[in-house]
Amino acid sequence: MALAKRIIPCLDVDKGRVVKGVQFLDIRDAGDPVEIAKKYNQQGADEITFLDITASHEARDTTIHTVEAIASEVFIPLTVGGGIRTVADIRNMLNAGADKVSINSAAVFNPDFVQQAADKFGSQCIVVAIDAKKVSGPNEAARWEIFTHGGRKPTGIDAVAWGVKMVELGAGEILLTSMDNDGVKQGFDLGVTRAISDAVSVPVIASGGVGNLQHLVDGVERGGADAVLAASIFHFGEYTVPQAKQYMAERGIEVRL
C-alpha cells in the first residue's frame, strides 16, 4: 500500500471560459469550466486546479459562482488560484467550496501573507505557486529565478531558495511552473523540478510543458514531483486521464486507477 502520485488537470479560466495559452500568450478557447471539471472528475482525475487568469475585480464574482458550481458536483479536491491577495479572498474561495488556494504574485510582493494565510486556515490549504525561469547560461551552474506578471517581470529571487522560504512560512504544497516550458509541450523543466522537490519537505506539483504521457512519467521519476499538472493534452482530447494513469502504472508509478 502506498500513496499515489496525483494527476491534476488544470483549468486556466478567463472571463468564465477555459482557455489555454502558449507561454502565457496566444489564448485558445477550450470550453465551459463546470462541464470540463465534471468530465475530469468522471475520468478519475485526482484533483482539479482552477486558475483564474483574468483575476480582475469584476471577474471575482464570476469565479466564485463557477467554483461553487464545480464544488457542488465534483467530489475531489479543488484548488483555486489567480488573484488571491488577501485573507478575505481566501475565505471567499474556501467558502465557495475550494479546498486549497494557490497564492502566486501576492507571495512575492508580501511573503508574510503566506504566513498569515497558513496561520489562519492551516498549511494544508495553502499552495504557493512559483513561476520559475532559467536565468543561467549554457556553461553555468543551473539557476532559476522567480518571474511575475505572467513571466514578464524578473524579480532576482532564486527559485529554489524561494521554495524553501515559502515552506518555512507555512506553504503546504508548491505548484511549480516553468515559464520557459509552459504551453510548448516539450516536457517539464526537470532540473528546477528536481532541485525544488529535493529542497522542500512538502509535496511539489510539476507544471508547464506537458506534451505527451512520457513527460508525466519524467516529472515523477526524474523531477521527483509528487503530482503532475497538465492542461492542453487533456482539454483538446489528445489523451484522457485514464490513459495517462495507465501509462504511468505500466512504468511502475503508483497511481489511483
Partner: protein, 225 residues
C-alpha cells in the same frame, strides 16, 4: 426508510460546504443542516463532526462553544456519528501538534506528527521507487485496508483509495477500535469505530466514488457495530 436529518457541526473552522453537498448528493432525501446550535444538533438523527486546520484552534473553538459537551452527548446518545480528519484527532486524548494539546478524550490514544517520527524523512515506500523522501503533509490518495468489517465499508473494496491531507496521525493502544489502516512510511490509523461512532482520517467528501459510497452508507446506518 423515512427521511433523516443530518447535522454537520459548524464550529467556525472553515469549509463545510463540501461535506454538506456530498451528503446531499448521495442522500437526496436527507435534510442536511450545517449548524452551530447545540439544540439542533441534539434533535438531528445523525451528526457529522468535521475538522480542518490546526488542532489548537479546533479544540479551542470546540471548547469555547461548549461543543465538547455536545459531542460527548451525541456519542452517548447512540445516534450515528461520523468524525472527519481533525474531527477524529480531536476525539483522542491529546495531540503533539502546536506544542501539545489536550483533546476531548472520547477514545484512548494520541495524535503524533509524521515529521517527528524517528527516521521518517528517510523512509521510502514501495510505491516511490526513486529516492525522494516522503513529504509532509501526507497529501493525496492512499489505500485503506479494512481491518474489520463495518457497515460503513459496505460496497467499498478493501484497500480502496481515499483522499488524505494531514501532517498528524492517530495512534491508539486499543487495536479493537481500528477499522481502517493505511501506510505512509509506517502504518497509521485511517479509521476507528466504536458502537455508533465512525471516525476517519481521510476526507470521504473528497474521495470520489469510495467517499460518496461511505457517506451513503452513513446516511443509511443504524449506528450499530
Amino acid at each position: 426508510m423515512s427521511s433523516t436529518q443530518v447535522a454537520i457541526i459548524d464550529y467556525g473552522m472553515g469549509n463545510l460546504h463540501s461535506v454538506a453537498s456530498a451528503v446531499r448528493h448521495v442522500a437526496p432525501e436527507a435534510d442536511v443542516i450545517v449548524t452551530s446550535d447545540s439544540q439542533a444538533i441534539a434533535q438531528a438523527d445523525r451528526v457529522i463532526f468535521p475538522g480542518v486546520g490546526a488542532i489548537r484552534d479546533c479544540v479551542a473553538e470546540i471548547k469555547s462553544r461548549g461543543f465538547d459537551e455536545a459531542v460527548a452527548r451525541e456519542i452517548a446518545s447512540g445516534k450515528p456519528v461520523l468524525a472527519i480528519c481533525v474531527g477524529l484527532q480531536a476525539l483522542m486524548q491529546n495531540s503533539e501538534e502546536n506544542g501539545g494539546i489536550e483533546c476531548l478524550s472520547a477514545f484512548e490514544g494520541e495524535v503524533r506528527g509524521f515529521a517527528s517520527t524517528p527516521g521518517f524523512s528517510l523512509a521510502r515506500d514501495e510505491g516511490s521507487h526513486s529516492s525522494e523522501r516522503l513529504k509532509v503533509p501526507h497529501m493525496g490518495w492512499n489505500q485503506v485496508q479494512q481491518k474489520q468489517a463495518h457497515p460503513l465499508w459496505h460496497s467499498i473494496d478493501d484497500e480502496g483509495r481515499f483522499y488524505f491531507v494531514h501532517s498528524y496521525y492517530v495512534q491508539t493502544p486499543q487495536s479493537d477500535l481500528v477499522v481502517g489502516q493505511s501506510h505512509y512510511g509506517h502504518d497509521f490509523v485511517a479509521a476507528i469505530a466504536q458502537k455508533n461512532v465512525f471516525a476517519a482520517q481521510f476526507h470521504p467528501e473528497k474521495s470520489h466514488t469510495n467517499g460518496l459510497q461511505l457517506l451513503k452508507n452513513f446516511a443509511a446506518w443504524d449506528g450499530k457495530f
